[in-house]
Symmetry: C2
Subunit: 244 residues, 2 copies
């Protein structure tokens, strides 16, 4: 039995997220079907984590076990012949039998794209949150710096999440501006459910002057979801890379 590690890119627009579920088409199910049609096996796919409906990935990471004799690096091309165009396996390789995409992950990078204009760009609208009013970028960068480091992010987690340990480390939140597109790159050792989207919603609230940058440490310390900003829309979020 071999253990195959794959890197997967997908447009989340038309999927009910990553994880297999009874209602709605998911990325995991499409990958499982692709593996089945080339190996005849119904295997379990271990993803590095879920992504929600509408969330995209440049580099989702997953692994699965197989008895098929296909050379490991050929899985990418073979699976791509069976997958819809909005899901691509970018690479495949054999890994040690005990490698697990989720448990072995040391960190992740997410990107969140904001599009800053009154008029949306139809080529970007599925991939960014459009903000029509001017943002105070300097205030947002000051606020972002307050999130870096080790914090209890209990207030930056979707309600109803069952996770007990809510302490996470954010290594960096980097801003890149390219014309009307503002990209926030979040790198950390792990992220709670909706954490990147809630931090982004909070940073945008700071940019719009609804929350002061100086209030961020207090908002984090309060651990109250209501103190933070809104959950930014799924469409602007990309799982960029998983680190091992």
């Amino acid at each position: 039995m071999r253990n195959i590690h794959i890197i997967v890119a997908y447009r989340g627009t038309h999927y009910a997220g990553w994880q297999r579920q009874p209602n709605g088409v998911t990325v995991e199910e499409k990958l499982r079907e692709a593996i089945h049609s080339i190996t005849g096996e119904w295997t379990t796919i271990y993803g590095s984590g879920r992504t929600d409906a509408g969330v995209h990935a440049h580099g989702q990471s997953a692994n699965f076990h197989t008895d098929a004799s296909i050379p490991p690096e050929r899985f990418a091309l073979a699976m791509n012949t069976k997958l819809p165009e909005d899901i691509r396996v970018m690479s495949s390789r054999e890994v040690p039998e005990d490698f697990h995409s989720r448990f072995d992950a040391r960190g992740k990078r997410y990107l969140y794209q904001l599009y800053l204009d009154k008029i949306a760009d139809p080529f970007i609208s599925d991939y960014a949150w459009q903000i029509e009013r001017p943002l105070d970028m300097a205030a947002m960068e000051r606020a972002a710096a307050c999130f870096e480091g080790i914090h209890d992010f209990a207030g930056f987690m979707a309600a109803g999440s069952a996770v007990k340990d809510t302490v996470r480390t954010i290594h960096s939140i980097e801003f890149t501006k390219d014309d009307k597109l503002l990209t926030l790159a979040f790198t950390g050792n792990g992220f709670l459910y909706n954490m990147v989207r809630i931090i982004t919603g909070t940073l945008v609230a700071v940019g719009l002057g609804k929350i002061g940058a100086g209030a961020i440490p207090e908002i984090i310390a309060s651990k109250r979801r209501e103190a933070a900003g809104i959950t930014a829309p799924a469409r602007g979020l990309f799982l960029d890379e998983v680190f091992y």
Copy 2:
């Protein structure tokens, strides 16, 4: 009666092209419906030219007449509230009564995107023609230079086209490479039906070694459609700008 000039961007993926037709949803029809819902008028929209199903636009140009008292520059925002997300009016302004988007156009720029890799990028696949084998770029650039200038492009027009004067001037074909994305920018005084896609198909045939760059002048002179390359897929083509 005022004459309003609009610049329109659209993703062509889900449309049966620009021009209104009995079967299939078109960009022109969506714009007409948007104008109707804000002015109550069913007006005629004069586009700078058609685009085919799947072809995109950064800067399609069109005009229409209206009796509505809406300030001309407000049409863009008002129409965008009625349009689907994959069509956006980027700007609107009043122009002299006799301005006509098609007859007054002095030239156009089209972009054609090629994606050079064995594995497609799911974020680019609707917007580029994927070429899996290596391309000889130097040969393609030599071939492209042969298309520049004034030529009878009769062989680079879709069969069945009724146009009589097939002489056109291509000012330039510029190559830009950004990682795996090769963009060809065609600027000219006008283009025959499918001309950019057939020239692109011919340049790719040169890049793959199927046609020699040195054979291009002869192929143009032959005026035979069969001598040229295939018609490149619609998805890679963008109407970038119309010049007046």
